[in-house]
Each structure stands twice: as C-alpha cells, then as structure tokens.
C-alpha cells in the first residue's frame, strides 16, 4: 500500500528520523545506566554533558542528543528480551557479544537498596505497584526505575514460585544472574512470600543486606528445602513440621526447674567473661522467654511476619539498653545455646540447634551497636 503523503507545512527544519544500527549492537554502559535509572532523554543528555563526554570527543549537544535517543530506543527494543534473559542468548535480532549480554542482564536486574527496603516483605501485587509513586517520592528514585525494579521482583517471584529445586539455582538458571544477585533475589522472593514485616520504625535501621543475610539463614535452615531438596516451594515456605516441633521448646520456660538449671549453667559459663554479667543474669529469664516464645508462636503466619520485630523487641532492645557489645551478645547466645544441650531433661536437641543456629546469626547480624 502506498501511503498518501501529507505535506502539511512544518515551521522549522527538523530531524524527522534518526537511526543508527550496527551489526553488533552498540551499547554504552553509562547511557544504559541512565536509562535504567529512568531518566528522560533530555535529562540523560544533561547528565552526560556534565560528565564531560563532549569535550572528550569534540561532540556537540545535537550529537549527544542523537546518540542518547538512539541508545534509549535500542534499550527499549531490548527490554522485552531482558525480561526473559534466556531469550537474549538465542534471539537473532540483536548481535550482542556474550559478555555484553551478561552486563545488560545484570544491570537490568540490579536494584537500589533504598527501593528494595521499601517493598521488602510486601505483597508483590497491583496494590503495592500503585503505591510506587510514594516510594519514588520518598527515595528520590524515578518512578520509572521503581516500576522496573518492582516488575523484576514480581517476575522473578512468579517464575520461581512454581519451580522445584533450590531457589538460588532456579533464579540463576532462569534469569542468568550472577550468584550474589541471585541470592539477593532469593531473599526478596522469600520475604515477599512470607510477608515479613520490615517497614516498622524499629526496623528502619536495618539494611537490605541485613535482611538478605537473615533470609539466607532461614532459607538454608528452616525451609522444607533444608531437609528435602526436590519439592515445590522448598526454599520459599518454612518447614511446617519444624515449626510445629518448635512448640516443644516451650518446656525451657514453662518448666521452672529447667529454666533455673539453664540459667545457672549459662551464668557459670559467663561469669568473669563480660562486663555486663550482672545485666545478663538479671535479664536471663526475660530474654529466654522472649526467644522461646518467638519459637513457639511461629506456627501462626501472623507471628512469622513479625519475626524480625519480635527479635528486636524481645531480645535486641533489652540488650542494647543494657549496653551489651556484639561480643557480649555472641558470648551470651553461644552459651545460652550450648547450655541447653547439657540439660538432662531437655529432649529436643535437634530442633533447638536448628532453631538457635538461625536465631543467633540473625541476631548477631541485626545487632548494630
């Protein structure tokens, strides 16, 4: 079909069309980052001009604009492929060297810590997406970038949700991400799935990496996958049997003798080794009750969500108000855990180890002095 040509007068001369296509797709890392950050073309041009490319290459603003538009267009065309990274490797449209492909994917799936802290543990739903403009306003990250990051979380979540096998491996395989990034995504998926509360004021001081560390601990020790590695959702859902078993730990605080015995064992071990011994002795029962109660309540999904806030309120805050150092906490938790093994009447050693191992490393990570 031949088009009927419209000859409406245009007032000034303008570039109507401007494209550059290389046999090997040319992509500038710096421009890619600007695009990922959600800049408009004109903002990106401004940033580039300030960056001094122009002087370096004797280019004019027009040249920079043309280049930026062209690259933004290329990225847009690639975006469809980036959302399904496995496709990028065997599509025919763009000839991109493998190392470039890896760079494109890694950067596309990279996220801002400030952003992820806002949505960590939230349901990856349309509702959350609608609130992204608030997140954008709060973090100073462009809405466009927020949406990309949110969609990435959601996409990864959806894909791995239905897969068998280890979470991190699945993410690596389906999204071709490097190991550290895949682990971060595993944490995000894990948090989103269990809806852990991370937004409360008391939790604000924790960074994403604190949470990601804890998520790693939980995934490795408390999920179904920790015992059986060939079930669906093995790394996403907590091991229900284990949670049930945790109720048995209540004996440690319910049985008065046991509680006293435990306390004395710990105190013997700690005496003279710390400056806050008195505080430890005074607080022992409180702290122990706190930790065991957390364990006992984990069968209830609502309490799972409050896991981190509970750790703070029941353990970290009291210690901090007594000015324990991280070493003190470590010392205390080590003896607290080990002493329970010596208690004759305490029969739940395996569950206790599985529980306390995670609690200890989480608390240590979360304990910022």
């Amino acid at each position: 079909m031949l088009l009927v040509v419209n000859t409406a007068a245009v007032v000034k001369m303008s570039v109507e069309l401007d494209v550059f296509v290389g046999n090997t797709t040319i992509m500038d890392k710096e421009v890619y980052q600007l695009w990922l950050n959600g800049y408009t073309v004109s903002d990106a041009v401004k940033v580039r001009m300030e960056g001094g490319v122009m002087e370096e290459c004797e280019a004019s603003a027009d040249v920079l604009l043309s280049d930026t538009m062209d690259q933004f267009r290329t990225f847009q065309m690639c975006e469809r492929l980036l959302q399904n990274p496995a496709k990028l490797a065997n599509q025919l449209l763009f000839q991109i060297p493998p190392d470039r492909q890896a760079m494109l994917i890694e950067r596309y799936y990279a996220f801002d810590d400030a952003f992820v802290r806002e949505v960590l543990g939230k349901k990856l739903s349309k509702g959350t997406k609608k609130d992204l403009d608030d997140v954008s306003a709060k973090t100073g990250i462009t809405l466009k970038s927020c949406r990309r990051q949110f969609d990435n979380f959601k996409r990864v979540f959806k894909v791995v949700e239905e897969l068998k096998g280890p979470l991190v491996e699945n993410i690596k395989q389906h999204f071709l991400l490097p190991d550290p990034l895949a682990r971060d995504y595993a944490a995000i998926v894990f948090f989103a799935n269990n809806r852990f509360e991370t937004g409360k004021k008391k939790l604000q001081y924790l960074t994403f990496h604190d949470f990601a560390f804890c998520a790693g601990q939980l995934i490795n020790n408390w999920t179904v996958g920790a015992v059986d590695n060939m079930v669906e959702d093995m790394d996403v859902d907590l091991d229900k049997e284990f949670l049930q078993d945790l109720k048995d730990l209540k004996i440690l605080i319910a049985d008065k003798d046991l509680l006293d015995q435990h306390k004395s064992l710990v105190c013997v071990a700690l005496r003279g080794k710390t400056k806050v011994f008195n505080e430890m002795e005074a607080n022992f029962k409180n702290l122990s009750r706190g930790l065991v109660n957390i364990a006992a309540k984990l069968t209830n999904p609502k309490d799972v969500r409050d896991f981190f806030i509970d750790l703070i309120e029941k353990f970290i805050e009291p210690c901090r108000s007594d000015r324990w150092t991280a070493t003190d906490v470590n010392l205390y938790l080590t003896h607290y855990t080990n002493s329970a093994h010596i208690l004759d009447s305490f029969k739940h050693q395996t569950v206790w180890t599985r529980y306390m191992g995670v609690i200890k490393s989480c608390i240590l990570r979360m304990y910022h002095e």
Binding site: L3, V4, V19, V21, D67, M77, N90
Partner: protein, 1039 residues
C-alpha cells in the same frame, strides 16, 4: 527433470501468542515451491513447536530452481475461522546450485511478517539434488557463480576477464495493480516481495546464460538494482563482469608468509616496456589542435619481442632527463611496436559492444593507464511498460548512455572503462539515468586464455607502480586542458596534475601520507513542473550541478593538499522542488603526481580596503587549513631533487620514452617547468556572494576527530595496522525542511550540515573503537517527499592497532609488502600464486598491445557532461605551473607483519547464536576467506499502521534495519558461513504518513556469504587447512 529440491521443517521457537485465550499457538507450516505446496502437522499449544517433518520433495526444472525462492509460511491453526499467518521465510536456493558453494541450508531463520516484523524463528533444512542436463538449448545457467565483490574474489584467480554483462527485466508493480485496491497491505507487500525475488532470480539466470555464452564461469562485481517506476512498472536490472575464475588450490600459507618479502619478484621494480604511454611531447599551452593527424603504421608485426630485447633497449636508452630530442629518437624506434601491441588489445576490446568492467580492484598488471572519470546522464520521461516481455525501451535508454560513456572513454584515449556503475533517480514520471566509470587502458593479459602463457609470465616484470598515473591520451590533442608534468616516480612519462577515478586505489600505487573522505554536496531548487517541462528543467540544471560538484571536489582536494580522488561516486537525486547532488571520494596524494599548489583568492574589486582585508583574512585561513591538513594527513613529499641520486628506479633501467609519430610536434618540445619552485597557485576569484559562500563552505568541513580516518574506498591508503575488530553499521537520517527556507544557499547549508552532523554522530558513536578508520563510507541521498531529505550511510569501522605507530605504515620502494598488507591478501596467503600473478608484463602474455588512437578529431565535440565541465572550469580558473616534488626517497621503516597486529578476538563460545560478521569490504582483516557460499540478495518490505506504538518513524526504521541485518545473518549462518563480505544496502525507500499513523519502508541488500578463518588459526593448524577447503568449510567455523 533436472533437479529435486528437498525441505524439512524441524522446529520453531519464540513464536508469538496467537490465541489470546490460552496464551499459546497451534502452529503448522506450509512449504511452497512453484505451484506445489506441502503442509506439516499442527503442533498444538506450543510457542516452541517441534514438527520434525518428513522431507518434502519438489521435482523441478533447474530454470525454476534459479528463479523461484522456497517459500515457508508459518500459520496458526484455527478450527473455526481462517488460519492466521504468523509470517514467512523466503529461502533463495541459488547457493545450492553451485557445486562449489554451499551443500545444505540448515539453521534458524527469523519468521518475517511485513506488518509485524520478526515473529519467532523456524529451523529448516534444505537440500538440492541436481541431475546433469545435456540439453544444449537449456534456459538455465546453474553453476555460474555470482559475486558482489568488486575485485577478483580472494580464493580465486582470474584466468580470463571476459567483460561486461547486463540484463534487465520489467514487470508491473503489484502495488499499482487494480487488485491492490481490494487486497490487504500484507498481501500486497508479499506479492511485491515475491515478484522482486522472482525477477532477481530470472535476471541472474539470464545473466548466467550470457556468461556461459562468453565462455566464462562467474560474474564478479555483480550489481543489481531495481527501479520503482510507480505506475509505469518495476524494473530490475543488473550489470557485472563475466570472468573465468579458477579456484586457487590451497597451499600451506603459514609457512609462506615470512618469506614473502624475499620471494616476491615484483620487488624488482622494472619499467614495463609497453605499459607506458609516450610522453615527452610538449604540452601545447594553447588550445589543442583538433586536426592532429593520427598516423599509426603497424610495421614489423611478426617480430618477436621478449624481455631480452626490451632490456637491450634499456641499455640503449638515453638519459631522459634532458628530455627533448634524444627521447624522440628512441621513441621512434619503439613506437611501432607499441602501436602494434596497443592496436591488438584495442581491437580485442573494440570487438565488444561495451568494453566495460564493473570491477574496482584488479589483478596486478591488468590496469595500465587511467584516463579519468567518464560519466553520462540522461533524463527520461517514464511511460507505462506495456509488454513486460519486451523491455526494449529501457534497454535502449541504457544502450544510449553506455554508448556515450564509450565515446567519452575514447576521447580520453582509452579503450576501456573500469569501475563502471549505473544508477537511477526517479521522481514521479521523471527518471534520471546515470552511468559513470573510469576510462582506462588495460593489459591484454586477461583478455584471452592466459593460462597458456604462464611460462612467459614468470619472466615478465611487473609494470611500474606509477604506470597507471601516466596519461593515456595524446597530450597534443588533449581532450581537456590539463597541466602535465613528468611522473614523479619514474620521471619518464607525463602525468596529469590531478586524477579522478571511480576505482579503488591500485595496490601497487605509491601514496604519500594518508587519505581522507572528501565530499561535495549541493542542493538546487527547482520549480515544480510536469511532464516534459519538468524533464527539460532538470536536464538544464544537471550540467551546472555537476560542474559545481566538480569544482567543490577539486577545491576540497587542494585544501587537503592532495592530488587524486579514488572511488568517486556522484549521486544526483531529484525531487519535486529540488535537485540534490552528492559526490563522495577518497582523496590521496599520489606520489607520482605533482604536489598541488595552494588555493589563492583573488578579489575582483581591489579598491575597497575592508574588502581587501577580508580577502587576505580568508587567504590566511585557507593557507592555515592547507598547512594543518598536510600535517594531519602526513603529506610531506620530499622536495623535487634535481640530481637523481639513489632513485629507487635506477636511471639505466628506464626505458626511453616512446614517441608517437607526431612528426610535426616532436621538435618543439617544451619542458614543463619542473624545477622552478614558483607556484602560481590555483586561483579562486571572488566575484560575487556565491563565491564567498563557496569558500566559507570549504572551510566549514570539520576535520575528522583525532584517532579517526575515513574513506569511501575499500581501505585507507597509508594504513596497515588493521586489527580484526570491526563494526558495520547503517545510519539513516531524514530532515524536514521549512517552506520559508528554500533559497539555494539555505538549502546548501542545510544539506551540508546534515551530512557533516551525520558524520560527527558516527564518529561519536564509534569513539570506543579509536584508533579506527571508517571504510567504504557509502552515502545514499534521496528526496522522498517535497520537503524531506533522506541520507543513509553504510560503512564499516575498523580498529587499528594502537601499539603500532602510524609511522610504520609509511612505505618505501618495496611495493610487495605493501601490496601484501593491503589488498592482495590472496597473495599473502598464496605465495605460489604470487609468483604466477605478479610478473605481468603484457609483452609475452599478450599477442601485443595495440596503440590506442588518440582522441578522434571529433571526439572533443562529442564530449559532453563531465569532460565539458572540466573544460568549462578550466576556463574559469587559471592554473599556474605547479610546484613539483618527487618522492625519490620514501624512506620509512617497513610495516610490521600484519599478523602481529592480529588480536584474536574470538567471541566466547558460550553464545548459542553463531556470530556473523558483516562488512562492505571484500575481505576481513586478519582472516582468510576459504570459501564463497553464494550471493545474498534480499528484498524486504515493512509496513505499519501503528507508527506511534512502534516508537515513531525512528523506532519503526530502527527495528526494520535490525531485522534486515538479522535475516541476512541468519541466511549466512544457515549456509554454513560466518561472514558477509561486499555487503551493501542498495535501496532504502522510506515513506511515512504520521497523520494516518502509517509508514512503509523497502530495503534491498546484497553481499557474498563466506566462510573465513583467522590467520592466527591458520598458523596454528596449517595441516588442517591444507587438507582441503571442503573439509574446513564443513567444520562450520561457527564462532
């Protein structure tokens, strides 16, 4: 039943979702060839279907095999309504028809839809079983190889170069048929794609037949174009050079490379006896006498001239430095022989209707002299093609143009035209036909079966490197006034002050410094008119346009301190209200030619003081620019030294000049003013504002940024440190002009800025490749609509090795290394061939070179266009004598062996898609082409009715070009290749209607699919390479 075509559909992937309800597709495939169609089963509910079909077999004539493409259609099965087409793949099976090309086509092809673009991929296997056909009246020409490459392809040797072949076929354009009103855009586009594919096949078959008739087995420099004449039809035409090629049997190249410099026979640079024109006759300063009698008598025809006799002549020769009388006598002696030889070659060539060659690069020794550019244009009114089977009108048009070209060449004293090409520009019913080439005198060596003379050729010496610069025409009867000087290399023969050509820089040419891309750009307004009035207006404008382009080129050349242009390509594009002219070429400083004088500005009214001031300011600027350019391009020819001491070509070896028998002139020899340093430079008169404008525009050309070089020839003369890293690209820009701005000057500026800015953008884009050279920069300009100017550039950026200093590249007298490093890679890799190839004195191999007659008395009157322009120009611009220099001492270190500069940039093997390199050049640096798999000639249409959604015009065209690249790569990969060489985008027709949210684009690309291996690998595994090309190629080299 001469052939059986077999196809198997294996699988699909990444198919689009065709059923919204299930988010899946029920795909099946139709395989069609001619009128036969097969279908696969439906593969239900899958976006990655596995069909694994049986072999579909088509029993067909080989005529059909050549004409028809295999058509594969992927459809979505729909129980209740009509099946929806997902897209198509057209596979040209021509490569399978040559025994030496590909044997199987197998791979993933993008499924293409003219409305939606690429929609997934399909894996297909295609084979052909050919039966020998003994029918001598056959219509097919299976087995004739086609090459887009403009020189003898790398792994072949030319046995005979037969000459020009051309053909055109016409048809109605489906888009203008009545049925188009009722069918869908998709159906219309597909009908067009299919028709052009069929016509290309037919054209190729017909050309193949002509080649077989001539006794050849290949077409080199195959140029196919189509003209969309709108209502009046569709023309597909092609030209090429018929050759008999012989595959070079593989030797072990690794062992040989180091010996190269020693073993080369051409190192011993001797003057060829008969390669030379006879200068020494005075330059007549007045207007050339048209009555100059040409008295050639061919006596002593039976005398056998061997090299021995020539060397004895040499001993007899007198020192030519003193010139005049002595030279004359020697010349008389040898004159008849030369005349005889030339006459014989000439007659061989003259038997041909058109002694044209589309090649731009030649085997060493083929090109003897270059006369200059010849071009012809004609403006025609299109009428409907009534009978497609009789394309006489179009044939007659081209015939006319070719005759003109031929007569122009004759006027330049040449018997052949090389670097020949043809083009059209169409605007509604007006069509400009253009042809251009370089008038030349060729050696007869490749004219007949040269294989018989191999023995003799070994004895021959190569012609002098400067030979091609020597004037072929009779200097007493020059077709145009020009300043002649003695050649600065051999100092024996006359050379012009500037040389324009359409060919690549000959490998043997000696170049001082580096070259650069030079463009002349021009825009002229034209009144809107209809029919004949329009055609007349255009033909009236054309001479001025050409003249101004030529002046601009010459000025820009001088401004860069250079004296020759290669690869000259002048494009004239016609629109409703304007004419666009773009001339691109690569400027170089030929060592053999005199140094160009400066540019002097002369004010017309010297009374005004401020004006004087202005003029002198401008003069200063120009002088500064020239000085700067000389530095930039490293043009520092040594001063002409009077005493010829240590000349690379010892005096004694030089053969004395051969005079033509112009008895009346030989006594009044006027030596050119060689020794005087006074340079009465090139004068530009500023007599009006236009001239000032012109000078300004001269100075506005921004120099290439540091680290960049650019040229429109294959490679940049003076650069040798290529790496294997390259990037081919296409860039398109469309400018919309305002109505108010339509003065000539305004237009010029816009057009000039458009081109300059485009170049700047390219440099910026490619800055990460620095140091690099943009090679084969090819601009296509068009006026798609009233106020639109479209410029499309295709080029390749090639990185240079940073570690090797530029200085290394400078070449001294040893031409062999340079040759090896630059173009004749085949020689680099096949030293045995080198020895067979280099000694190419025409004396023994040819029966004789016959004297070409000087310009016929009437020739000057018949010279039109180009030559006329040059004459015109010469009247306007006073040329003074020119400071002369020579390059007796071109002392600089030899370039390092190029292999050292090869970084093996092997791409990671992890990629699942084979990397296919693309380049407009005929080779890939650092690699050896081991097999040509066949020609790629593809035509695509893309249309959209949702322009905004696809990212506007830029988004639309961007994805289309990317898709075209992807389809080319996929076809090459399926043939088993890993690169396309001599790639070019012949056509990019873009139309838009943003108000209707529509756009349409047609793209035609071509190239040669090849398998290359890296030289580094060659060295590593010499034994494997030796074992034969078939094995090596089947390994696929699928990096």
């Amino acid at each position: 039943m001469p052939g059986k075509l077999k196809a198997k559909i294996v699988a699909g992937r990444h198919l689009p979702v065709m059923d919204r309800a299930s988010d899946l597709t029920d795909a099946f495939v139709e395989v069609k060839f001619g009128n036969t169609t097969f279908k696969t089963d439906v593969c239900p509910k899958s976006l990655n279907p596995q069909w694994n079909s049986e072999w579909f077999k088509f029993e067909v004539d080989d005529e059909d095999l050549q004409d028809e493409p295999l058509q594969i259609t992927v459809l979505d099965h729909d129980t209740y309504s009509a099946n929806d087409a997902i897209g198509k793949v057209y596979i040209d099976i021509d490569p399978l028809l040559c025994s030496e090309a590909a044997t199987v086509i197998s791979g993933w092809f993008p499924i293409y839809d003219t409305i939606h673009g690429i929609r997934g991929e399909i894996n297909v296997l295609v084979k052909v079983d050919l039966f020998n056909d003994l029918n001598r009246f056959r219509q097919s020409s299976c087995g004739v190889k086609f090459f887009c490459t403009m020189s003898i392809p790398r792994c072949f040797r030319a046995m005979v170069i037969h000459g020009f072949v051309e053909e055109l076929v016409v048809n109605e354009d489906p888009e203008y048929q009545w049925i188009d009103r009722i069918r869908t855009p998709r159906a219309s586009n597909e009908a067009r794609q299919r028709l052009i594919s069929l016509m290309s096949g037919e054209l190729q078959r017909k050309i193949g037949l002509k080649v077989l008739e001539m006794g050849g087995n290949a077409v080199v420099g195959y140029l196919q174009c189509f003209d969309l004449e709108g209502e009046s039809g569709l023309v597909v035409r092609a030209i090429g050079t018929a050759c008999t090629l012989d595959k070079i049997s593989s030797t072990c190249p690794a062992a040989v490379v180091p010996n190269l410099s020693n073993s080369s026979p051409s190192k011993d640079m001797k003057e060829a006896v008969f390669g030379e024109e006879a200068p020494g006759v005075p330059l007549s300063s007045g207007p050339p006498t048209p009555l100059r009698a040409q008295t050639f008598s061919s006596f002593s025809p039976s005398k056998s001239y061997s090299r021995q006799s020539s060397s004895s002549d040499t001993e007899l020769s007198l020192t030519p430095k003193t010139g005049m009388g002595s030279g004359g006598s020697a010349g008389k002696e040898a004159g008849p022989l030369k005349a005889l030889l030339r006459q014989q070659t000439q007659s061989a060539l003259e038997q041909r209707e058109f002694p044209f060659f589309t090649l731009t690069g030649f085997p060493v020794g083929f090109l003897l002299h270059v006369g200059g550019v010849v071009s012809a244009r004609s403006v025609k009114l299109l009428d409907r093609i009534h009978n497609p089977d009789e394309p006489e009108t179009r044939d007659a048009w081209w015939e006319e143009i070719r005759q003109e070209i031929k007569s122009h060449a004759k006027a330049l004293g040449c018997h052949a035209v090389v670097g020949y090409s043809e083009s059209t520009s169409i605007c509604e019913e007006v069509c400009i036909l253009s042809a251009s080439g370089t008038a030349a005198i060729l050696s007869s060596r490749f004219m007949q079966d040269g294989a018989l003379d191999t023995e003799h050729r070994f004895e021959d010496t190569a012609p002098p490197a400067c030979g091609f610069c020597h004037i072929p025409y009779d200097e007493l009867n020059m077709p145009f006034p020009a300043q002649l000087t003695y050649c600065h290399c051999c100092r024996r023969h006359k050379v012009p002050d500037v040389l324009f050509t359409t060919i690549d820089v000959p490998t043997e040419a000696s170049i001082t410094g580096k070259g650069c891309l030079i463009q002349a750009r021009l825009c002229r307004t034209k009144k809107k008119a209809q029919g004949e009035g329009n055609a007349t207006a255009i033909s009236n404008l054309l001479p001025f346009l050409e003249y101004e382009l030529h002046t601009q080129l010459l000025n820009k050349l001088k401004l860069r301190g250079m004296n020759a242009l290669f690869g000259l390509r002048v494009q004239i594009s016609v629109g409703d209200t304007m004419l666009l002219g773009l001339a691109s070429a690569t400027g170089v400083y030929l060592t053999a030619l005199p140094s160009p004088g400066g540019i002097q500005i002369a004010g017309k009214t010297p009374s005004d003081l401020t004006y004087e001031q202005h003029v002198s300011n401008m003069q200063k600027k120009i002088n500064d620019t020239i000085a700067k350019n000389k530095e930039l391009y490293e043009i520092s020819p040594p001063e002409w030294v009077e005493e010829v001491i240590g000349s690379p070509i010892p005096e004694s070896r030089q053969r004395s000049r051969i005079f033509r028998s112009h008895s009346e002139s030989s006594d009044e020899v006027l030596e050119l003013d060689l020794s005087h340093g006074k340079k009465d430079a090139f004068v530009l008169e500023i007599d009006d504002t236009d001239a000032i404008e012109d000078i300004h525009s001269l100075l506005t050309d921004a120099p290439t940024p540091p680290g960049f070089y650019s040229c429109n020839t294959e490679i940049m003369p003076g650069i040798y440190n290529w790496t294997s890293s390259l990037q081919m690209f296409t860039s398109v820009r469309v400018f919309r002009l305002s109505n108010a701005n339509l003065t000539n000057q305004g237009l010029n500026k816009i057009f000039n800025d458009l081109c300059e800015n485009l170049l700047k953008s390219l440099y910026f884009k490619l800055r990460s490749m620095v140091p690099c050279c943009l090679c084969h920069v090819n601009f296509i300009v068009a006026v798609p609509e009233d106020e639109l100017i479209q410029v499309a550039v295709t080029a390749v950026a090639m990185s240079l090795d940073k570690d090797q200093t530029q200085e290394n590249g400078r070449q001294s007298g040893d031409k062999t290394l340079m040759k090896a490093i630059t173009e004749n890679e085949e020689q680099l890799q096949f030293p045995l061939e080198l020895s067979a190839e280099c000694p190419s004195n025409p004396l023994s191999s040819a029966k004789g070179l016959s004297e070409v007659s000087g310009p016929l008395p009437s020739a000057r009157d018949r010279c039109s266009s180009w030559i006329e322009q040059i004459r015109l120009k010469a009247h306007t611009i006073r040329r003074g004598s020119i400071k002369t220099t020579s390059s007796l001492e071109k002392s600089s270190p030899l370039p390092d062996s190029r292999s050292r500069s090869l970084r093996s940039n092997r791409s990671c093997p992890s990629s699942s898609v084979a990397v296919v390199k693309m380049t407009p050049l005929s080779f890939l640096p650092g690699t050896k082409i081991i097999k040509y798999l066949g020609i790629i000639n593809m035509f695509f249409i893309r249309e959209t009715t949702s322009l905004r959604e696809e990212g506007g015009v830029s988004g639309f065209l961007h994805s289309f070009i990317a898709e075209v690249f992807a389809m080319v790569r996929a076809h090459v990969a399926a043939l088993g290749g890993n690169a396309v060489v001599s790639y070019s985008m012949k056509e990019c027709v873009f139309m838009e209607n943003p108000n209707k949210n529509q756009a349409q684009c047609l793209i035609n690309v071509s190239g040669d699919a090849v398998i290359f291996i890296r030289e580094s690998e060659l060295e590593a595994t010499p034994s494997q390479t030796q074992s034969g090309n078939v094995q090596t190629s089947s390994n696929g080299e699928g990096t």
